[in-house]
Symmetry: C2
Subunit: 293 residues, 2 copies
């Protein structure tokens, strides 16, 4: 098929990228290409961006079409699979299940109704049972991991740093419950904990409540803190930050974003830095492995 | 002053009830009267219901008027103080601080910006420093505590009971962070964790997100679980459930409400049972002291 660099990707062969929403899947696909791998996108209908998808060899699949996805990956000669990008969680009745998925229905439904972790790790397991190898996006594209330090020119204050440590400690406490990967802490007070809503909606909501005067907190204070759950399968669900997260944080009147360095994914770090500087917020990678509080 | 029953309330004297919103303050005031105590309301402007307040001897005070509150309580001969009812957290600029509160301003601001626990326990401490005794509402009116078992005719299912235990375990984990006292768990998945928003807004929000298809969960499944924080000063901030909570739970499409029996306050249990039966939801008091998970 494609010309490969045998030293860099010995025996790796082409890579299938199961591709959700946002710009991350493209970053990952490009990074894999830079390493000389052929990349095929399995673009999730309703989630993946058609504009990005068109730039690569690709096949569109529905969320309930696990069998189709496997067939496409095999036909393209891919043994390795990466799953990346945001998922629009559809209503069960909107799933157009293929035959294979129908056969696994009880298992899919169980996965679907529990936390995101279960849903994604069930799908990873199903791919593995079909003979594929599921890799983390950061394994094929280490450059997407959040580095230590600030992305833009702003730095967190002393108060911000205390809020950040409190946020990491709270995330360690909620981790075993398969809840979200983000909290908002302002002047040592927990303003919000992500659950089924997700980071963007949580930020939107806080902006709304502050606008209505229903949540009081110092304007320009407070940090969005993101870290992976302690037990998380890092191949499939690392927390991520993008320009949209920065905009949400600015609208919510917060000081900045802190992310577990090396264990979170950053889409478009250059653009993030620019957006952060323009919005006067910081975006910083911090070692999250402090002593448990 | 008033005729007291010396056996029931020996040396207790009249009781000052610092009175926030909702029907709870009146329940507490009535219960104290039934025990033969004279009751004076210190009604919080912007929070207390004028209709309820009018039925008792009362004085209106602003949230920033701690000095006025103390003066009124002393003039009425009250040594005991109970704080009860919901607080509308005002913007700092809307506080009309009296002289005494102004002197304590740094402390008040610090309390105001940290969690609810700190705010309320700071105020309790300030009352105590002024020579008052701060009692829990359930100490003067034990009948307001949530009993074991269901209030209406509905009972939780086996799945609901598992969700309830998961909810209590999660609340034990978040407790040290002075976060909210409520979570929503559905089919073992955590849908929401209360933080600065409060229970009513959290329920409203979930109803909204479900209506928009942004949170998927089984209709008629899921439980609102409420329990006090582990370190909480139970005199000042027990979680509470009222008819409004039941209505919110029904609108959010959940199965019911579980409350830590004996450590939560129930306003109008009779009305709650009626509202719950009409809305087909359960309201149940459960021992929350399971083994830590």
């Amino acid at each position: 098929m494609s010309a490969e660099t045998p030293t860099a990707v010995a025996n790796a062969g082409p890579l299938a990228v199961v591709c959700g929403g946002g710009s991350l899947p493209v970053e990952v696909a490009r990074a894999a290409q830079r390493q000389g791998r052929r990349v095929v996108l399995l673009a999730l209908r309703g989630s993946a961006d058609p504009h990005f998808v068109a730039a690569f060899p690709h096949h569109w699949v529905g969320l309930g079409q696990f069998g189709h996805a496997c067939r496409h990956a095999r036909a393209e000669g891919c043994r390795d699979i990466v799953m990346i990008g945001s998922l629009v969680r559809p209503h069960v009745r909107d799933l157009r299940l293929d035959f294979f998925t129908l056969r696994m229905l009880p298992r899919v439904i169980r996965a679907f109704q529990s936390g995101d972790d279960h849903l994604l790790s069930s799908i990873a397991k199903m791919f593995e049972e079909q003979g594929f190898r599921v890799l983390g996006a950061h394994e094929v594209a280490p450059e997407i991991l959040m580095p230590h330090g600030a992305l833009g020119s702003r730095q967190p204050s002393e108060i911000d740093r205390r809020d950040i440590q409190r946020g990491f400690a709270l995330l360690r406490a909620t981790g075993p419950f398969d809840v979200g990967q983000a909290v908002i802490v302002s002047d040592n007070r927990v303003l919000a904990i992500e659950a089924a809503d997700g980071t963007d909606l949580m930020l939107e909501r806080l902006a709304e409540l502050r606008g209505q005067g229903r949540v009081q907190a110092r304007q320009g204070g407070g940090v969005l803190v993101k870290a992976p759950k302690p037990m998380q399968d890092r191949r499939i669900d690392l927390p991520s930050v993008g320009p949209r997260t920065v905009e949400g944080v600015a609208r919510a009147g917060l000081a900045g974003i802190a992310v577990a360095a090396g264990s979170a994914i950053v889409a478009e770090p250059g653009r993030i830095a620019a957006v952060a500087d323009r919005a006067h917020v910081f975006v910083v990678g911090v070692a999250a492995d402090g002593p448990p509080s």
